[in-house]
């Protein structure tokens, strides 16, 4: 895409809610899995 500043980037052509809603939940889900895996690793090590 042609760069038109951060405002335009976050707006995603008016579809920001859908694009960032998809990316935010994906990031959160993967981060949660990593968090729970680390916790389980620590617990099983002890």
């Amino acid at each position: 895409m042609s760069w038109g500043g951060w405002g335009e980037f976050w707006a995603m052509g008016g579809k920001g809610f859908y694009v960032w809603g998809a990316y935010a939940v994906t990031l959160a889900a993967l981060a949660l899995e990593v968090y729970f895996l680390r916790r389980r690793s620590r617990e099983t090590k002890a």
Partner: protein, 234 residues
């Protein structure tokens, strides 16, 4: 000869444990680097889609997540089948370790698909063959996990889960071919092995980089989880 011996060597959970740790560490790093590259290409290099505008950028996670959801199920069913046939503990542990990550990617495929569908089709959800069979896949993963959690003896849980996983595998080709077999709202494949992809090359690059990142992420998460399972059981 020597490779055959090494495979049996690593079939033992104790000898596999340190190897799994090393592979997982490398895959975590690889997944992070590939995801960074994929997101850069996806948001800063790939052009705006002529028909869909910017919202198509959801496909950089939607398509890889959907691929992983189906692929991980087949890998899980294969490990479960090997565990059932040869009574190898590690194979069954691998199946159990893959299930939560597979379920996660199935959920993400549905979630990102819904958020893409609303502005593109005008609806978050329809009961067409592709979406419905993908939802069934999520229930198969959850059913596998619930069944294993409900049975106290791990070896019996492995066998019961394996039967469910193997029977459920029939759903994967149904998902994959659903867009050809039925008249679905979901579009057909834009990328296939048999013909040139119907999208700009930078879009394809971004998607493939994200797919590789999800691959390495899945390997890292599954191997980290199998190490926990080995510690818990052995």
């Amino acid at each position: 000869m020597s490779t055959a011996i090494r495979w049996f060597w690593y079939a033992s959970p104790q000898t596999f444990f340190p190897l799994a740790g090393r592979i997982a560490a490398a895959c975590w790093v690889g997944a992070a680097l590939l995801a960074a590259a994929g997101l850069y290409v996806g948001f800063f290099v790939a052009p705006t889609d002529a028909q869909q505008g910017e919202v198509y950028r959801v496909i950089f996670i939607h398509v890889p997540a959907a691929w992983m959801s189906m692929f991980l199920y087949l890998v899980m069913a294969c490990w479960a089948a090997i565990g059932l046939a040869f009574n190898t503990r590690l194979s069954s542990m691998m199946a159990s370790a893959i299930a939560p990550t597979g379920a996660l990617f199935t959920f993400l495929a549905l979630w990102t698909g819904a958020l893409w569908g609303r502005p593109t089709w005008g609806t978050y959800w329809v009961w067409d063959a592709r979406l419905t069979s993908e939802l069934i896949l999520l229930f198969l993963y959850l059913g596998f996990m619930a069944l294993q959690a409900a049975i106290e003896d791990p070896r019996r849980a492995d066998r019961a889960g394996a039967v469910l996983a193997i029977v459920g595998a029939v759903n994967v080709p149904i998902i994959y071919y659903s867009v050809q077999w039925w008249n679905t709202l979901h579009q057909g494949a834009s990328v296939s092995l048999t013909r040139a992809p119907s999208m700009a090359s930078s879009m394809l690059t971004g998607m493939l980089l994200m797919a590789l990142a999800f691959w390495l992420y899945s390997i890292a998460a599954s191997l980290t989880r199998v190490r926990c399972i080995i510690r818990e059981r052995e």
